[in-house]
Structures are given as structure tokens and as C-alpha cells.
Symmetry: C2
Subunit: 327 residues, 2 copies
Amino acid sequence: MNDQVKNYGLEEAIAAVAARGTIREIYFVACGGSYALLQEGQYVVDREAKSIASYGYSSAEFLSRAPVRLGKDSLVITCSHSGNTPETVAATEYARKAGALTISLTNLADSPLDKATENTVFYEWDPLAVTSKHNSVMLLLLVFGILDKLEGNSKYALVSKAVPALHDMGEKLKEKYAAAASEFGESHKREPVIYTMASGSNHSTAYAFAICLLQEMQWVHSACIHSGEYFHGPFEITDFDTPIIILKGLGNARKMDERALAFAEKYSKRLTVLDAEDFGLEAIAGEAAEYLTPIMFNLVLRVYAVELSDSRGHPLTVRRYMWRMEY
Amino acid sequence: MNDQVKNYGLEEAIAAVAARGTIREIYFVACGGSYALLQEGQYVVDREAKSIASYGYSSAEFLSRAPVRLGKDSLVITCSHSGNTPETVAATEYARKAGALTISLTNLADSPLDKATENTVFYEWDPLAVTSKHNSVMLLLLVFGILDKLEGNSKYALVSKAVPALHDMGEKLKEKYAAAASEFGESHKREPVIYTMASGSNHSTAYAFAICLLQEMQWVHSACIHSGEYFHGPFEITDFDTPIIILKGLGNARKMDERALAFAEKYSKRLTVLDAEDFGLEAIAGEAAEYLTPIMFNLVLRVYAVELSDSRGHPLTVRRYMWRMEY
């Protein structure tokens, strides 16, 4: 165990998948912010895998669906920061019992999740700094490592090569967006509702900001709108005073974000636009850049959340229910 | 074409799948309300299929992801009520070009979607009545018909047998909920935000009510919360005056809804609870009942939406952007 902690378990987990022989499908299963994180991995498999199916579920939904297919050709990747989210531990145990191979990401060794799973990948997580052991980084290395091992995937090398540059890029971005974030906090401190919008690799980032940062940590009403779905219902809510945070991604999905932004700009004066093209990811990761955008969006959005919480006098650490009672 | 219109194309579509031989995966692809509808089918495959993978995508996201796996062993089911949703027509053409078998649901013969697809299944749709050709009914018969043909599925017979009873059940439910719906409309007419919450087969119903009925047709802020995810962020938004419409489903998922409701009841005085156990579906469909719950929830929720729109003096037909301009 100690050795595994030391090297974070990444290589062992990838080797366990390779040793398994046939993996026909990968399930990404977690709750809340960890679920949003894993969807970054599910997106990679969805876009890149030549023959492997992939699914994303909130842990309770996974247990409820109890897919008949689940078995020895399945890989189930779960995640819990504390390692003690009951639904995620239960999902991991359920998957293992069904014969699936299990890999779990967590920050905490010897946690219930670490004990329930066959292969643990440990990560570090500082919401305001990207290290080479950052949760999203470890997830990307795991998923691309698996794809490369099972099917061959040239983007594994691109991602690996980009990792060392991420920390400094993040530090620069925090500086770059500091003034805009402060302005956002002040100008949005009385908003009762703030929407987020994104697509592709960043949809789960926008989802996490809506449910974890705004609803959970700020008690501000929010919903994540998919940039493509925007035109099929949600756009009717757009008005001059409707606040929407729009993430412009890279790759194929960018077109969806651009179209949504072009429309929203005409009818709302309360847009906050963050553009992944301003991050510099294409220079360090080439064709794999779109998979790294959530890392930088999460970092920059955290700076915005900190400023909003300061302006509102409502610390991000305050909870009224979570961890404070049985539920 | 005329013959196909006459018999709605259902048997032909199922036969086309059977004739195909190998179907390894089914994609459910549409926009907005049609996307929500198709997710009812995706849920069935997810729960029931022994070896077939299934995915749900908004049409633009499907085109953007451009899954490498898509090919001759894939079935792509698309849907557009008018048959002229550009992204869905494009998704159908894309899938067909990739070698996938295509089946499309629509209300309109000779529409662009009808022309783009290989197999059309026509449906009827009255938001306030469930006929045996209702969109959800046709979708369920299609999906269970396919599963039964490819893998054998005993619930196809259960669903088929239940269909003739749905119309009268719907009529009775409209009466049963009339007073409660009217009270909901009056008591919620000044709410700026109304949440919906559900899980399992009804999650997409709650999603549709949030984005199509509340955001699009009432310009009321809304978000669909997953009952299982509720405890991992969104529940912190719960307060004595937070309005949430909670759908209690059947089957495995019911536990998630019950847990969320038990918590929400403690802290909000503004809950609206609709319980599928009050519909009588188990008596007519047995173990397949959970798959029919969206049909009745959609109907009852429509009655609630009509009452809300009456109380607000904001007809459900009003749009400020949709169909009124280029976007």
C-alpha cells in the first residue's frame, strides 16, 4: 500500500486493465463534483475509443439501473475525494461483485473507497493550483493510458508531454483573470440566479460550477445549460438581465458554444464569457488540447467563485446541511 | 410511403433492425423535448439490454462528438416532431453516411427528417391525451420490439398489453389532478424559480418540464435536479420557500426519489409531489410499469403547466425567439 501511495497507483491501474485482456465498456461512476470530474474521462473515451463503449452515471443512478451488461468485460472507474461517499463505495462494491474490474480515484489512502476497490489512483487537489498530480490530470493520464494500452492512442503522448507545463499556465491564468473575476463578484453579488453554459468536454465543468459552487457553496439558484440544447427551450429565458457564464471550448464543440454566445449576446447584457483559446493549451497539447480545457476552466472559475463569495460575504466553506447532519 | 404512414412504420422499423443482423449499440439522438422523449428509450435499453450498448445525445453534441465507433453495427434513433429540426436531420444524415442503420420518429410525413432517414416511425401527439399512437407509446413499442427481436425480452408483451388501457387512465388522471393543478398554478404564479427533481425513467421528464415548459413556455427560471445528485450539491439551495416539483417513480429508482423527498420535506414548505404509485400502472403493466411512468407524468405535468400559464396570463404558445427569427 505504501509503495502504491508513493507512486499514486497510476501505472499499476493501467497495467491491471492491460492484464485483464478484454475490456468492452467503461463506466464512470461518482457523485456531485467527482461525477463532473469523471465525465471529463467519459468524454475522452466517447470521442477517442475505437471499440470501447463508455457511460457516465451518478453513483445512486448506477446502482438503481443495475445494467445487465455489467460483468467481467467491464471496467468501472469511480471517484470520491474523501473516499467515503457511501453511494460511490456501494457502487464500487456492486461493480466488483458483478465481476467488473474496478479502479477508484481518491485523495485519501485507507478510506472506505480505497478498501472497496481493486486499484486505487491517488491524486492531489488544490482548487487554486494545478499540480502534475491534480485530480483531472491523473484522470486524463489514466484514461488515455488505458486507451493507448488497449487500442493505441497517439494523444496519450500529447497529454503526458503537456502535463509539466500546466502548473505555470494555471498561475499565469489566475493573474490574467484576477481583475475580471473581481469585477464579476461585485457585479453579480445580488443576482438570485446565475446560469452556466457549455458543451463538449466542458459541459461537466459548467455543471459542477452550477451545482457545487453556486447552489451548494453560495446558495445561488443555478442551472447548467448545454450550448446545443440552448436553442431548444432554454434560450427563451434569455433577457437583458439574465446572467449566463458561457465557456467557449476547443475542438468540434466550439461551434456550439459560438452559436449560443452569438445569440445570447444579442439579448442579454449580463454575459460572462471565458474562452479556452485564451489559455494557450493548443500550443502545449496540440490536438489533445480540448481534453485539457476543463482543468483551466475549473481553475479560472474557482477564482470567480472566490471573488463572488467575498463580495457576498458568504464563504465557500459554509454549509447548512452537508456534513452537518444525517441524510 | 402511404402504406407506411397508414401503419405508422413500426413493424417495418423493427423488421429492418432484425434484418440487419448485428446491432452492437443504439444511439438516441434529438433536441430539446424530443431528446427528453428519446431518453425514455435509452433508459429501457440501459436497464434491459443483455449486450447492446446505448447512448443519449443532443443532436449537436452527437455531431460534435462524432464517435469513432459509429458504423454498420450501430442503430441511430432520432426524433423531431416537425421533422425539420436542422441538427437532428444533419445527425441522421451523418449516421447514415457512417453506415449506421437509422430509424426516425416524427409527426410529419415527407418532412426533411422523413426523407433523410431509412425507416420512419410516425406518431400522434396531443399533450393532453394519451392515444395508442402517442409519441412515448410508439417509442416504447419500438425499443422493446427491437430488444425482443434481438435478445428476447418478456416486457415487450407487458408493454403491448398495457397500451390500450393508457388512454382511459390518462383521462382519469387529468380529472384526479385537476384541483391540485389549479391550486399549484395560483400558488406558484409569482415564483421566479421552480425546480424539478426526479431520477431513473423520469429524469428526462423532469428535464423536459424544466427546459420546455418552465424556461421556454413560461420564462420561469428552472433546473432539473437528479434525486441522487441532490445530496451532492443542489440540496444546499433548499429553503422554506424553494419550490421543487418532485416526481416519485417506480422500480429501483423510487428509493432515490423517496430519500430526496424525505430530506426536502424537512426544509421546504413549497414542494409539489407527484407519485407514480397513484397512477395504477403496476396493475396494467406489472414489472414494465416503471417504463410507462413518464407517459403519465408528462400528461399530469401538462395539466399543471396549463394551470400555471392561466394563472400567469402567459399562454404556453407564446415565444419571443423560437420560430420567430433566424438563430
